[in-house]
């Protein structure tokens, strides 16, 4: 049964339905694989009994013919999602031991579709990081290594545990969240697919908040089709999230088509930036050829405010984070440090001890840009620039149907190799503009670099047009022939 972990979600679903294997066998294979891969530090909590219970229900339901779209499929869940009765800590000490008495809408949707849970996945603390090194549980190790080297590599972040789990075949698919690239950059680093839908497609209810105007949940999996299957189950209107889109969920999987005849692919000239390895630009050029081969026409487009996207993001996201994270005060949930000096001392000690360095940095930046004297100069200005970035995309989508860029400006780096926060923030240079504009965007593996590490291609679609993103992703997937796998060392 060990080969069950080599199958895609679509294959598992179809095999389970046809009776080739049982849901229980799938869950057992994955539970064993999860337990055997603890070296990677991908899971913070393992929930084998949850996966088995859902599998048992799926096996019983198989005869009745009333099966949800994910019946028999066990998934990994990023630790940012509240899961009833299971530790949900956002990778932070300040939430250690927090066991929600409720279930996030996204995970509830997945459960309703029949999915079980393998466990909670490690992540950068409060999703603030691009390497999973800010987690209170310690960094996740990528299953990938450079050719001829055993240096530990990061799986990217913040959905680092999610990415490592899919790449190491210790989950067939997982949830991630993306505020400024946290699904797409890790997906690129480990050679898997990951899509962030249009802002508002997936409910934020029960997802620990980082930057509420940017946060979006999305799936990560081995194939474009698997991402479509998962996203269909995760998405949907939720009255409990005031920014949830009241729209029906499209049938993304059924409508998958890699025939791009008549479609125009925008190539933004501002994304040719200095310092990006030539291999990444070469892969970008190959991606253009693949989409041409699928019938699309490349058109050069301009997104003139691109260079302001990263600075704008690093004002808006910390501003929202500093406000959202004010709730961790040691009173209602999470850890408490008594400190000295009564209630105020308790607040201070709790936050000083509970948050890690990167989270504190962003709270301070956010508090600064929202302070009375600087609000207009930073926060208001950033909101205006955000509107201009959105307008850039509106103009661009007059000329094209989807935009192709690289996902990240480098391949995966080693743990401890990037110590300068600004250098770390640069990881998201290609991902952040789509986040600020609320657009659907996906990373698909394109190839490997000289050191044998995966590189991703990034597709950005117009709002609500996840289908176009998925279809272009499928066209690349079919042509890239990406079959590289990390050699098992864990």
């Amino acid at each position: 049964v060990s080969e069950l972990t080599a199958k895609t979600i679509a294959e598992l679903r179809d095999g389970f339905r046809s009776g080739a294997f049982s849901a229980r066998e799938i869950a057992q294979s994955y539970n064993a694989a999860v337990a055997a891969a603890r070296t990677l530090n991908a899971y913070t909590v393992e929930t084998p009994e949850d996966a088995l219970a859902a599998a048992g229900a799926a096996d019983n339901a198989r005869n009745s013919g009333q099966l949800g779209s994910l019946a028999g499929i066990p998934l990994g869940i990023k630790d940012l999602f509240a899961t009833k009765g299971v530790d949900s800590t956002a990778g932070s000490n300040i939430l250690k031991g927090f066991r929600p008495t409720y279930e996030s809408t996204v995970t509830a949707n997945l459960r309703k579709a029949g999915a079980g849970m393998l466990g909670k996945l490690n992540m950068d603390e409060f999703a603030m990081g691009s390497s999973n090194e800010t987690s209170a549980y310690g960094p996740v190790l990528s299953p990938w290594r450079r050719k001829g080297s055993n240096v530990g590599l990061t799986p990217g972040g913040s959905s680092g545990g999610s990415a490592a789990a899919v790449a190491a075949h210790i989950a067939p698919g997982v949830t991630g969240t993306d505020t400024g690239g946290s699904i797409r950059q890790p997906a690129a680093f480990v050679g898997i697919c990951g899509i962030k839908p249009t802002y508002g497609r997936c409910s934020r209810w029960g997802v620990v908040a980082f930057a509420s105007s940017l946060d979006q949940a999305g799936p990560m999996a081995r194939t474009v089709r698997d991402c479509a299957i998962l996203l269909e189950a995760m998405a949907g209107f939720d009255p409990k999230d005031s920014t949830s889109l009241d729209l029906p969920v499209p049938q993304w999987e059924a409508n998958l088509s890699s025939d791009l005849k008549g479609k125009r692919v925008g190539i933004p000239r501002e994304y040719r930036i200095d310092g990006v390895p030539s291999e990444i630009n070469a892969l970008w050029d190959r991606g253009i050829e693949w989409l041409k081969d699928a019938g699309a026409t490349p058109v050069e487009i301009s997104l003139p405010h691109t260079k302001y996207a990263l600075p704008t993001y690093y004002i808006i996201a910390p501003a929202e984070a500093s406000s959202n994270l004010a709730r961790y005060d040691g009173v209602r949930y999470g850890m408490r440090e008594p400190g000295e000096g009564g209630l105020d001392g308790m607040y201070g000690a709790t936050r000083a001890n509970g948050f890690g360095a990167e989270v504190k940095r962003r709270i301070m930046i956010g508090t600064y840009v929202l302070s009375a004297g600087f609000y207009d100069a930073y926060f208001t200005k950033a909101q205006k620039v955000r509107a201009l970035i959105k307008q850039d995309f509106r103009n661009a989508f007059q000329q094209c149907d989807v935009i192709l860029t690289p996902t990240a400006p480098s391949a995966a780096f080693g743990i401890g190799e990037t110590t300068d926060p600004l250098a770390m923030y640069l990881n998201d240079v290609f991902a952040v503009p789509a986040s600020l504009a609320g657009l659907p965007a996906m990373s698909v593996p394109g190839g490997v670099d000289e050191q044998g590490l995966p590189l991703g291609l990034h597709l950005i679609g117009n709002e609500l047009d996840e289908q176009m993103v998925l279809n272009a992703g499928l066209a690349i997937e079919e042509r890239a022939g990406f079959t590289a796998r990390p050699e098992k060392w864990w």
Binding site: R99, V331, R332, G334, P338, A437
Partner: protein
């Protein structure tokens, strides 16, 4: 960034009677309330 109007819903109670749930994760709770260090001497 995505054009939408803020919805209004009926002014009706959607939850409640979950005091134990709410207090279950509190570092300290007494008599059905969150407990904090003494504020008034």
């Amino acid at each position: 960034v995505i054009d939408q109007k803020l919805r209004l819903r009926d002014d009706a109670i959607t939850d409640g009677d979950i005091r134990e749930d709410i207090l279950s994760n509190a570092p300290d709770a007494e008599h059905g309330f969150f407990a904090v260090p003494k504020v008034i001497e």
